[in-house]
Symmetry: C2
């Protein structure tokens, strides 16, 4: 099936510059972009026309780091310090996913809510439970959400019901990988929770699995100062936190590392040289009083950075909120640096939400020809009137007001999803 999709097409590049095609159109065939028109033709032979008029067409959101099992607790227990929060809510809750019925109940809501908010690609943590992980993959695929799902690996420093020792973890990973083959657009990602919760033996096995099946990797890096100190204690033979992953082959161009709030110079250099993607979770880093990641520095160096919600360290599932959280946090870095460190522009943060993780998701950004369509149609018809705005101004207003009711439609491959 061929579709001609008309509207105001808005994309941003890595420098945060917007490209607006005020009378643009996308020609899509069987869910793949075939042509991008600066000036839309009236119609195209044998193609259905979808004319969104004055609405904006933008690339759909990518969320490169969040924890599916924690979705019920998003926005709760925020008065607790990290370790108590983990104990009192996270670990207690994650244990519940041994029950496939509870897993199904939560993951079907989560998959719906992701699509509702315009997130069509995720890189997401599950729990250690293989069956619940497969249920999550199934619910995402059903909802049209694509990307990577990780069965969590951890075998130390956590409650016993969340611990999977190597001798069990290995066959369970093999089973998970084999059963995952049935999904079309959702695939596995190797997921050591973080260094403190994985023994060397487990890490080594995960590195081998990643290599054997050529899989991407996700984990946490340098989130807060106590954790960094703990990792130094646990791995005295490593010069930096990043090496605790790198030495097992878990730190490369197919790796996404959440947080990176406190990298030293060598860690920044390692992120750059290994082409690791950073998942910047500003809301989570604020809620847990972890600090503010040096994103301006990373961008200047050429490190790849995406934004992420980090539910439930982050309280909101909306990538729109992740965009504004990143900008807000960067403004406080500006303040605390006496203005020396420029804050993120809206265009830069928007790029980090829609384009910078494209390569990690094995695609090309911004409606590249030959790539599957992932787009949102946005309308500000319900907002108070403000005549004469440019397309980027309209977009900024909608993203800051972060209301999924401004998402008129989600276009994923050949599907048009209104909710």
């Amino acid at each position: 099936m061929r579709k001609l999709i008309k509207g105001i097409i808005v994309t941003a590049n890595a420098r945060g510059n917007f490209r607006v095609r005020p009378k643009g159109a996308l020609l899509v065939e069987d869910g793949v972009v075939r042509e991008v028109f600066d000036r839309a033709p009236d119609s195209v032979e044998s193609a259905v026309t979808l004319n969104y008029g004055d609405a904006l067409i933008i690339p759909a959101f990518m969320d490169t780091h969040l924890h599916a099992p924690q979705y019920p607790m998003a926005g709760m227990g925020m008065d607790l310090p990290l370790l108590k929060w983990l104990e009192h809510y996270t670990f207690r809750l994650e244990g519940d996913y041994a029950d496939p019925i509870y897993a199904r109940a939560v993951y079907s809501i989560l998959a719906h809510d992701l699509m509702l908010r315009g997130t069509t690609r995720v890189c997401i943590f599950s729990t250690i439970h293989t069956d619940a992980t497969l249920i999550l993959m199934e619910e995402l695929e059903k909802a049209g959400v694509e990307g990577y799902v990780g069965k969590v690996a951890m075998d130390r420093n956590c409650p016993v019901q969340l611990r999977e020792p190597l001798e069990k973890a290995l066959p369970e990973h093999e089973r998970w990988l084999a059963e995952s083959a049935r999904f079309k657009h959702v695939s596995p990602v190797i997921t050591p929770r973080f260094t403190p919760s994985c023994t060397d033996a487990l890490m080594e096995a995960l590195g081998k699995l990643a290599q054997k099946y050529s899989l991407p990797v996700q984990s946490h890096l340098s989130e807060n100062l106590d954790e960094c100190a703990w990792v130094r204690e646990l791995c005295p033979d490593c010069d930096g936190y990043w090496q605790t992953y790198a030495r097992w082959g878990l730190f490369n161009e197919r790796t996404v590392m959440a947080h990176c709030v406190h990298p030293d110079e060598r860690e920044l250099e390692a992120l750059l040289q290994n082409r690791v993607l950073v998942a910047h979770s500003a809301d989570s880093n604020t809620n847990l009083a972890s600090g503010i990641a040096p994103i301006r520095r990373m961008l200047n160096m050429g490190i790849r950075v995406s934004v992420s919600t980090d539910v439930a360290g982050g309280a909101s599932l909306s990538v729109m909120d992740a965009v504004t959280a990143a900008i807000r946090a960067s403004k406080l870095r500006t303040y605390y640096s006496d203005g020396r460190e420029p804050f993120l522009t809206f265009g830069e943060a928007f790029h980090m939400a829609t384009a910078s993780a494209a390569e990690f998701f094995n695609t090309k950004p911004n409606f590249a020809v030959g790539e599957p369509l992932h787009a949102l149609v946005l309308t500000d018809a319900a907002l108070p009137p403000f005549p004469g705005l440019s397309a980027p101004e309209r977009l900024e207003r909608m993203v800051y007001r972060s209301d999924e009711r401004s998402i008129l439609a989600r276009l994923v491959r050949d599907r048009v999803i209104s909710m």
Copy 2:
């Protein structure tokens, strides 16, 4: 008419401690609270029963600082520094309220959106335009939103179309005050925009008006460092920014001052001694890179502090967002003080949103007997299941997820408002 309103009643005191009445009820007569039951009776003679079951009943939100004319631009131009933002958006937009048709269009949406988000009391800036100010008062009253509306006074350092010289401002203020008498629950507040935009002669006249008609006062204080330096230049005879208001009788227990991000010791002492209410607008202070107000310090001293949205410096009209923005900002103060300054608890911030401004609004907090009813009924039925939560946990989850769809009903005096 008498109503017995049943549900789980949740309030917080100034220390952030919650009081939960799990089987509570309010007896309301002609919109006034007559009794609060810890254990609800089955029914009360000649009273209609509204049974909200497991839903939470909380005091409605108060927003002590926002700019009505800026509502259309909330979440826009966030890449600009304060002065360019004022020039390019704020002043241009505020000029449009000379047109009563535009004013009506925006203010009717704003009043609706306030009630939708559960804000039933406001202290709000209008523009210099008398007619638009009266339209704002009318729309708020129609929607059921109560409180104070201020016609803005400014006669220097602003574009000519937003300047109202004293000889015009005085009769226009008199006309405004006279015509305001027709409103029942919305009344005027004297509103010098801020010291840089008011001559001494205008300030003096405003002080006299406030005294003559016994009116409250709202303005801005110590928002950012450049502004503080500017005020020192403009008023070399004043020891502190606060004195530029105090010397004209505009700094007392009926005054609300927005921001107070950079008070020195004497200014903190003056806020305390004069019993001024601080309107803490964390999102605005973040968006404009102004800094983070020392709220923990203020609370320890006994200064009165409320939260506010400061639309459009703040991007969100929701007091739920103002609550979480205050907590988030305080967490970064905790981080930057190496943990020495404890962050705001959810209970403390909730108190600042629902109770601490009660006296300013001439009422008593937390369903005091004899006071008009302002309540919200909250349901988390649409959120993912998480059994076994306490009422404060449920409340925190709803406030962090900030979605007005969790507001089942707004109870204002005798009205039950579903939207």
